[in-house]
């Protein structure tokens, strides 16, 4: 039933393409062989229908090709495969490689090396990551860490346009993967630790010109809110993005966009999550602080806000909601629901009606204690008052999850329409939280917290789980000795793929979680596996190795490239440097 609905979406897209003449709409209907978008499809399912590799034969998976990217930063994101070419974007300095999949050894067709400011390395809060490129209309579109979006000709590697979208001097960097809908390139900025005034922009696909800019907080006029068209399910009134902040604290309130964006062509809505509220001391910004830690639904054409829902009102724990919004049609209570599923940093997995934003299911998927539950009628969490942070609360101990999240928003889940299950990495860390008043100084960090981590309950630090989002229950769990930071891939062969922080790449049975094969890939995996069919007709799985993406997690002792920066290991993660070190490698596995 779900499968039929997905097919309908594909046909709908094709029809849209035919009727409007839009080349963009046809993109989602490309062949099963390809992977042309960051999350493979507009619904961000990371499901590949390819089935040659199955639970029966996955034991025979082995590496068939590797490539050193020459870059050490955390290799989040994923390659793209378009026709006979594989595209790889590296962390800063954001090199774009194009590999020829038709020839032995996959030699490079070309590489594109943009001039990216090194200053961006220090302005990115956590590491110089990039979460991937988008292919459409012959163009590879991606973001540069120093605040630019580029379009590169997919055949020649020639730069078609380059647009400055963000201001490094204000603490903005760009790590997210763009989404292209029709002729709009949707982009946003990181900088929740620098007091940015978070935004989303729509660029023209042909020229790169900025067509609209809307903010994620602030007055209606800035937010792209019209009273007649904005219908949040649990709130009402004008200027919510301004009224829910004390004084003018919204001006530096954060709400960055550093994950991905998804799209429903039938509803013509784009969905994305916003990051934390700034600064980290919540008493510096009384109020709900809308729309930080929220999901926003907008029109791609003009950016107008249609609905918004806040997962964590008055964010007091750095609970970004930038994790993927996965669109799937689920059967809930006997009815088919156009659902949006989101695994939040705050430890709850949410299932929403994606037309209205109303909450259907909200249950913890990882150990958490900051909220007792989420009220489905009001949409609000029942916060445990002993876990409320702020200067007046002193050092609040033992909050779970830590601000690394029950899952990192950098670790996108997958959804299989065959098993009807969602698959995601999780972290099992807790934290103490000592807030301090923060001093805004443009272009410098705006935080105010001391928050040491410790392992969560159960004696493991992470896991990979299968989740039933219709019921809000965990179906199986593979526990890991370290936090799990990779994205997920699930295939038509009912195999689910993920990587571990200590450098294992794992294939497991999507129905049971049983590990079918694993291979040590040289560095911890924080990237997202993809699957494609190469010109030789065979199915392959590709993934980046290359630990990084979070300096709190890794404590810096992962490095070997800088003799002037020697650090002690993190006390909660003592052994990780024993098993892995930095270094970007592209791996391809086959049978």
């Amino acid at each position: 039933m779900v499968r039929a609905s997905l097919t309908a979406i594909l046909y709908g897209l094709a029809a849209l393409g035919a009727s409007s003449g839009s080349r963009a709409a046809a993109a989602d209907a490309r062949t099963d062989a390809e992977w042309t978008m960051p999350s493979r499809d507009y619904g961000a399912t990371r499901y590949s229908p390819l089935a040659s590799i199955s639970a029966q034969n996955a034991r025979g998976l082995h590496p068939v090709w590797t490539f050193s990217t020459g870059v050490l930063g955390g290799h989040e994101g994923q390659p793209l495969v378009v026709g006979d070419t594989m595209y790889v974007v590296t962390p800063w300095p954001n090199v774009l490689y194009a590999f020829d999949l038709t020839r032995a050894d996959y030699p490079l067709k070309w590489k594109y090396r943009p001039d990216v400011s090194a200053n961006a390395i220090g302005v990115a809060c956590c590491d110089s990551v990039n979460r991937g490129a988008f292919y459409l209309d012959g163009k590879i579109i991606y973001n540069l860490l120093d605040g630019h979006t580029v379009a590169v000709d997919g055949k020649t590697g020639r730069e078609l346009w380059k647009t400055q979208i963000a201001d490094l001097g204000s603490g903005e960097t760009v790590t997210m993967a763009p989404l292209v809908v029709r002729d709009r390139v949707i982009v946003g900025a990181s900088g929740g630790e620098f007091g940015i005034y978070g935004w989303l922009k729509g660029l023209d696909l042909a020229t790169g010109q900025v067509m609209w800019t809307v903010h994620n907080l602030g007055p209606d006029a800035d937010m792209g809110v019209r009273v007649d068209t904005f219908k949040p399910p649990y709130d009402s009134g004008a200027n919510l993005g301004q009224r829910t902040w004390a004084n003018d604290t919204w001006r530096r309130g954060g709400a960055p966009v550093w994950g991905s964006v998804s799209y429903d062509p039938e509803l013509d809505l784009i969905y994305y999550g916003t990051g934390n509220a700034g600064p980290y001391n919540p008493e510096d910004r009384p109020g709900d602080n809308k729309w930080t830690s929220s999901v926003l639904a907008r029109r791609p054409g003009d950016g107008l806000l249609v609905w918004a829902y806040q997962f964590t009102p008055h964010d007091s724990w750095d609970f970004d909601a930038t994790g993927t919004m996965i669109l799937a049609d689920l059967t809930i209570g006997g009815h088919t629901v156009k659902a949006l599923v989101h695994f939040d940093k705050n430890g709850f997995a949410y299932t929403l009606d994606r037309a209205s934003g109303r909450l259907l299911v909200a249950q913890p998927f990882a150990p958490e204690n900051w909220a007792k539950s989420v009220d489905l009628t009001t949409g609000r969490p029942a916060v445990d008052p002993t876990k409320q942070t702020g200067v007046s609360h002193g050092n609040v101990k033992g909050i779970c999850p830590s601000l690394e999240g029950g899952v990192s928003p950098a670790s996108p889940p997958a959804y299989s329409p065959r098993t009807h299950l969602f698959y995601t990495s999780t972290n099992n860390l807790c934290m103490d939280y000592l807030a301090a008043h923060a001093n805004y100084l443009k272009g410098t960090p705006y935080m105010g917290v001391t928050s040491p981590y410790s392992g969560g309950p159960g004696g493991y630090l992470g896991s990979f789980i299968a989740w039933d989002a219709a019921r809000g229950v965990k179906v199986w769990e593979n526990k890991e000795p370290f936090p799990n930071w990779s994205g997920a891939l699930v295939t038509g062969g009912d195999v689910v793929f993920y990587g571990t922080l200590d450098g294992w790449f794992v294939a497991a049975d999507a129905r049971s979680g049983k590990v079918l094969s694993k291979f040590k890939v040289g560095s911890g995996v924080v990237g997202n596996p993809i699957s494609y069919r190469a010109p030789d007709g065979r199915q392959y799985v590709a993934v980046y190795a290359g630990i990084g993406g979070d300096w709190a997690l890794l404590s810096g002792d992962m490095r070997s490239d800088d003799p002037t920066d020697i650090r002690a290991p993190a006390d909660f993660l003592k052994d990780i440097a024993r098993h892995t070190s930095q270094g970007g490698i592209v791996w391809i596995f086959g049978l």
């Binding site: 200053n119 990115a124 809060c125 301090a436 001093n439 100084l441 960090p445 935080m447 800088d562």
Partner: protein
């Protein structure tokens, strides 16, 4: 995501310090900052180092100024990149006794005043020389541990 440890501070104190540093900046700057700073670690072609002015920390070894500098380290959000106690985060550890751009008073001054190319902002404009020297005094007061190049898991 942010540093594991950061020092708390009061806004009142921070505003006082900042405005003080700003007021003293213009007069103190003139004639003090040299056109070039020499780095001990850099090689000199022909064995001859280029000419450069000298920079002398007026507060070298002053524990009271170092304490002020610790407060300034938080007020100016240095800890946001270098971590609480300057123990490292996205920016390098400043308390490990190893230096990317030199660890003498003059070299640390130059780094803070003018900035560095991987995202270290130039704080000379907002802090002035007196403010920068206060920070230098704090950073130089951090006790560097014994340099142990080996990390071993043998026997674990």
């Amino acid at each position: 995501m942010r540093p594991l440890r950061a020092l708390a501070l009061l806004c009142v104190a921070s505003i006082g310090l900042c405005s003080c540093a700003r007021q003293s900046a213009p007069s103190a700057t003139t004639g003090v900052v040299p056109p070039a700073v020499r780095y001990q670690a850099h090689l000199a072609a022909g064995g001859t180092p280029p000419a450069g002015g000298t920079l002398t920390n007026p507060h070298a070894g002053d524990a009271a100024v170092a304490k002020q500098g610790a407060l300034l380290f938080t007020t100016m959000n240095c800890d946001g990149c270098h971590g609480g106690d300057a123990s490292g985060w996205v920016g390098p550890d400043l308390a490990d006794g190893r230096w990317r751009y030199g660890g003498s008073d003059a070299e640390v001054f130059s780094t803070i005043y003018y900035g560095r190319p991987k995202g270290m902002p130039a704080f000379g404009g907002v802090l002035g020389t007196e403010g920068v020297w206060t920070l230098v005094t704090y950073i130089r007061s951090l006790p560097a541990p014994a340099d142990v190049p080996t990390e071993s898991w043998v026997g674990n």
